[in-house]
Symmetry: C2
């Protein structure tokens, strides 16, 4: 899978900035690929890149129309089909991270065939995996875990990868979700794997490597999220991390899209360590990454310092303060 760039990023009628996080992730980590955004009426998100029609984007050289928004359950609404077909008619490939496959829509398939365009359903993986075996393997792996979904696990992993590359360390970012795959150009959308093979797919994604190599794995969900904890646990067991970083958003009170109270950082550290030991007895927490975007500078500093006093670990907001303090722990 090699998706052509640059992208026209479609964020539909995203109800808030969080709903457009796929598009935002691409803009943040691959700005040169992010030619323009296409928004429908009532869209409440803004990626702060030029608004473009399909025709304008095609003229400007866009190669792929990327669906950069999420919907509950990952279904692709019928109402988006006309704009997708118009992009195909303008010669653009389509890349989608929705559960619903582009190929399920006959109008999309017909337009792709007619105009010689490719359809990328990046959330789906047609590889056949085995079941996980839990056998120890060489190389180092760091997994980002969360007190909830959408708390910065992918950002933190990408920031750690960037910091390690800056230090000339051997490192690979391993994408496990649709946005990560669009940013990395590869990976496995782990939540779309058949349940029996979650751990096996993670073992495949993070294979044996040299003793000085790090795989930085994008986490998914939370061990405490009632919708997705099974995925999070399979990811933990399959990746066999030596190290994990807890990602947290301090203003949230309930988990995303459910009424469950948000988990505490303490509980996540304790549970991840206890469960992670099954496949890696030396697993340990090496830092806490807090998304303090909704706090001002002073509030953020106060919050981070408060957390720092409670844990003998680096505490940082990757966006505000970087992740050097976490990478320092790994190189000690």
């Amino acid at each position: 899978m090699e998706i052509e760039t640059p992208y026209l990023i479609f964020i539909g009628d995203a109800k808030d900035a969080l709903a457009a996080k796929t598009g935002q992730g691409i803009v943040d980590w691959r700005p040169t690929w992010s030619l323009g955004q296409l928004r429908l009426e009532n869209c409440r998100a803004d990626l702060h890149i030029p608004d473009m029609t399909v025709a304008e984007a095609a003229t400007a050289g866009a190669k792929t129309f990327v669906i950069g928004t999420v919907s509950p359950g990952g279904t692709l609404p019928e109402s988006w089909i006309p704009v997708i077909v118009s992009a195909l008619e303008a010669g653009l490939d389509i890349a989608s991270g929705m559960h619903t496959r582009l190929r399920e829509f006959p109008a999309v398939v017909a337009a792709a065939e007619k105009h010689g365009c490719k359809l990328y359903d990046v959330r789906h993986c047609d590889l056949q995996f085995g079941t996980g075996n839990g056998t120890a393997r060489a190389g180092n792996r760091l997994l980002t875990v969360g007190t909830d979904c959408s708390v910065g696990k992918k950002y933190t992993a990408l920031a750690i990868e960037r910091e390690m590359r800056k230090r000339a360390m051997k490192v690979d970012f391993r994408a496990t979700g649709q946005t990560g795959i669009l940013i990395a150009g590869g990976g496995i959308a782990i939540d779309a794997v058949v349940a029996d093979f979650i751990a096996g797919a993670c073992e495949y994604l993070t294979p044996e490597n040299s003793d000085d190599h790090w795989d930085i794995v994008e986490g998914q969900g939370s061990l405490f999220h009632p919708s997705f904890a099974g995925v999070s646990l399979g990811l933990l067991h399959g990746t066999q991390p030596n190290a994990f970083v807890v990602c947290h958003e301090p203003t949230r009170t309930t988990m995303r899209n459910v009424d469950t109270p948000i988990a505490s950082v303490e509980d996540v550290i304790e549970q991840t360590t206890a469960l992670g030991r099954l496949t890696n007895p030396v697993v340990r927490c090496v830092g806490i990454a807090v998304n303090t975007a909704s706090l001002d500078d002073s509030q953020s500093a106060t919050y981070l310092e408060g957390l720092q006093r409670r844990f003998e670990l680096p505490v940082t907001d990757p966006m505000r303060r970087g992740v050097a303090s976490i990478v320092d722990v790994l190189t000690r």
Copy 2:
């Protein structure tokens, strides 16, 4: 999915009793549904129910031809197609738990269409589920969990259902694997669901019910099995059990098909309670079901009594001693 009964159970050319264990399970737990068996030449298994041809079974009122044997790799051999087609021609539906889908055989699809019969590939689930929501719901649910795979979770659940029916309690067995589905006439093969929807599928399988009703849910895998723990956790969160029973096999030292040491009953109780509280704060262990088939009577008694002293819970071997002691706890 509601498979019509009674069944004609096809065990093909099963090389031994173990190869026909799906058929045997149906006979053991649903004797009144088990109208007859159909064996090919060289079959070395015997379910000890009447041998019938397809025509005899149809005349006697059979509604579904059930494939009650396993084959290497779960593939459906081409040599079975003629007998499957003849069953369709006699008006029977077909139910299969094989990995190969019935729909992959054009002759089977054509015969099913021509005769208006249904094809059930019970290992595959084509329903579209939502993600789990974790919201509390009325009714009672009991989940069987394990220190490993294949330790008697299905058998224990079925024994509890039978004991409850004997006491005229309101109860349903909820199947989560292919054999269980054929025994129950419905259910969801949870390990074949896409990872994102494990918990959601379990919520669908065990819906809201009256305050005096019990769903007895067949567990899968183990929270401590490195291949399948994600499935086990999604099942725990999605079913929101009030009660769980730990199933154990005392002579095993490592988990099935991997090198991981078998989990202790203590760890399973502690971890299931800790993780289960996320979606049901009152979850508790109500008993321990031990498969002591490999021990003699005296060894079995000694083992069960030893376990009994360690836990303030009913400890039983469902095969040898039934599960009345566990159901007693639920009715107190």
